[in-house]
């Protein structure tokens, strides 16, 4: 074998082995510092400094930060997400016309954990900033009204936001309906269902859509439990006692069978006449039908 051939073979083997080893080492490095690129954000948290440092390429930097925000929330959903707000603020400062960032902020900054960061005021600031920079985007007014209604129960401001949105050219007609509904602030479940359905249908972000679907599912639980507990009260008023089982309650109400939750499991009734779901873990966003002491935030019992 010629020396040159020997060198070629050795170099080829070395290239393949070393490249495989470098990929292996890189994976080990990644495991050592899983949130590294996000931790770096902590060191430069000023959008103004970042804008200057981007040397005019702020659009690209905004895209990088937007990717980081989605990754960050996706990987830490259900735990502490305190960096979500600064990440979105940096993203929108670098690119004030990045509409999905405002939408994302509205849906995931405002709700309390485990579904969000529990920072409705910061969500409102973010969306108002978006409206100032994109006054003709009706979705932003919708997001604003949504946060006011869902997370702050501030009907006046919600109505105002939907009303402002309805005046934007080419806005969706349901904004006018929502503005009127907020002004009356009646029919809680109906309004909430309408809002989440609209969100599900109009959003282009898969995570936002999934979030809306989960809310609609758990809203159904809240509504069912309210109705069934109303039926228990009516039964008590008629007979002077609690129904012995949910089956008796269903018969008394003329229902075709034992009502089931959105996962198909029958509801159950405790000895005090409270209606409960079979598996509370399946409905982390539900506010009713959960056993006493069940911690929806941590998805477990508080005593655990």
């Amino acid at each position: 074998m010629k020396a040159r051939q020997r060198t070629t073979i050795l170099a080829s083997v070395c290239l393949i082995v070393c490249f495989a080893a470098s990929v292996f080492m890189l994976r080990s490095v990644d495991r050592l510092r899983p949130q590294a690129s996000l931790d770096d954000v902590l060191y430069i948290s000023s959008p103004k400094i970042l804008k200057r440092a981007s040397l005019g390429y702020e659009g690209l930097l905004a895209d990088v930060y937007w990717t980081r925000a989605v990754q960050y929330f996706g990987s830490r959903r259900g735990s502490n997400v305190e960096l979500l707000a600064p990440l979105l603020e940096i993203t929108t400062s670098l690119d004030p016309h990045l509409i999905p960032a405002y939408e994302y902020g509205g849906f995931f900054l405002a709700p309390p954990p485990p579904n969000g960061a529990g920072q409705p005021k910061r969500a409102i600031q973010l969306i108002e900033y978006g409206i100032r920079n994109n006054p003709n985007e009706w979705r932003l007014y919708y997001n604003l009204g949504f946060v006011y209604y869902m997370d702050l129960k501030d009907y006046a401001h919600a109505s105002d936001a939907f009303e402002r949105g309805s005046q934007v050219p080419n806005s969706h007609p349901f904004l006018k309906v929502l503005a009127a509904q907020m002004a009356q602030h009646g029919g809680e479940y109906q309004t909430a269902r309408m809002l989440w359905t609209a969100t599900y249908k109009t959003s282009r972000d898969k995570l936002v859509q999934q979030n809306a679907a989960e809310h609609l599912r758990d809203l159904k639980v809240d509504e069912d439990v309210s109705n069934l507990e109303g039926a228990v009260t009516r039964f008590g008023e008629r007979t002077g006692r609690l129904p012995s089982s949910i089956r008796e309650l269903a018969r008394a109400e003329g229902l075709p069978g034992v009502p089931v939750d959105p996962k198909g499991e029958p509801y159950k009734m405790d000895e005090n006449g409270r209606i409960l779901v079979q598996h509370p873990d399946d409905f982390p966003l539900a506010t009713k039908g959960l056993p006493a002491g069940f911690n929806a935030v941590g998805k477990h019992f508080a005593s655990n």
Binding site: A3, R4, T7, T8, A11, S12, C14, L15, C18, F19, A21, S22, V23, M25, L26, S28, V29, D30, L32, R33, A36, S37, D39, D40, Y43, V64, T67, R68, V70, Q71, G74
Partner: protein, 258 residues
């Protein structure tokens, strides 16, 4: 080390010194001494932070520029001046030439970084009047910067083994920028689906990962660097450098020099 590789390395080092590459140290010294005096006047509580950040960033950037602009000429200059033919007509193998050039350039950068490190610690002493235990982490950051230089040197040699100096500079600098964002690239790969995911993952592992070497901000904040990270980064840099050098050897072995 093979004696012939040693000769080529020492000649490369001497040539770099003759080319006044180390003159950048004057600019570095001026920058750092100016910054140390200036931040002492305007910064409250963060003088040390600014000196470490500025000093280490300057060490890194000066080194990257030297690695790229000296590295791209290592092969082409020898061909243009026809000195390569003299070297290869002696009992020197092509792979020895490439490896020797790599060690020559790397040692130039190590010496350069050593001088700059003295400057950084001098400026640090000037603003904080004493050293603390956490200042030792700066040495880790400097070590990571040197590892980064090894990778860049090997990549510039890889590109210069088949391309013109200008294109080699463009390729090397592009890879440096992409490599600095490689964690975002892997994040993007993680979020993608189907063929995009495979392609993005392949590219993410193919480009060098420089973000893992950048601990400047954390050492400036006096955060320790894990021993495991030092070990893994060292191995990663060695394997990646060996990969790029093997590629350079493979190409250069087959290159027609007539």
């Amino acid at each position: 080390m093979n004696a012939r590789i040693g000769y080529i390395a020492s000649n490369t080092f001497r040539e770099a010194v003759r080319d006044r590459v180390l003159y950048n140290l004057i600019a570095f010294a001026l920058l750092l001494s100016g910054a140390a005096i200036f931040v002492g006047e305007i910064s409250i509580e963060i003088e040390k932070l600014v000196v470490i950040n500025l000093g280490l960033t300057a060490v890194s950037l000066f080194g990257v520029v030297i690695a790229i602009f000296v590295g791209i000429g290592l092969v082409s200059k020898e061909i243009d001046k026809r000195t390569l033919y003299t070297v290869l007509s002696r009992p020197v193998r092509r792979w020895e030439f490439i490896v020797g050039k790599f060690f020559g350039l790397s040692s130039t950068l190590v010496v350069n970084t050593f001088c700059m490190a003295i400057g950084v610690f001098g400026a640090l002493l000037y603003v904080s009047h004493k050293f603390t235990g956490s200042d030792a982490f700066i040495l880790v950051a400097l070590y990571f910067i040197v590892l980064q230089f090894f990778i860049i040197c090997s990549l510039t040699l890889l590109f210069s083994s088949f391309s013109s100096p200008l294109l080699s500079a463009v390729f090397s600098f592009s890879l440096f920028v992409i490599g600095s964002f490689s964690e975002d690239l892997r994040g993007f790969a993680g979020m993608a689906h189907g063929i995009t995911k495979w392609l993005a993952t392949a590219v993410a592992y193919l480009v060098p990962n420089f973000s893992a070497f950048n601990v400047i901000s954390s050492v400036a904040h006096e955060y320790p660097v894990a021993v495991q990270l030092v070990l893994h980064n060292t191995l990663y840099a060695l394997f990646y450098t060996a990969t790029a050098l093997s590629g350079a050897v493979l190409i250069f072995e087959r290159r027609n020099l007539k």
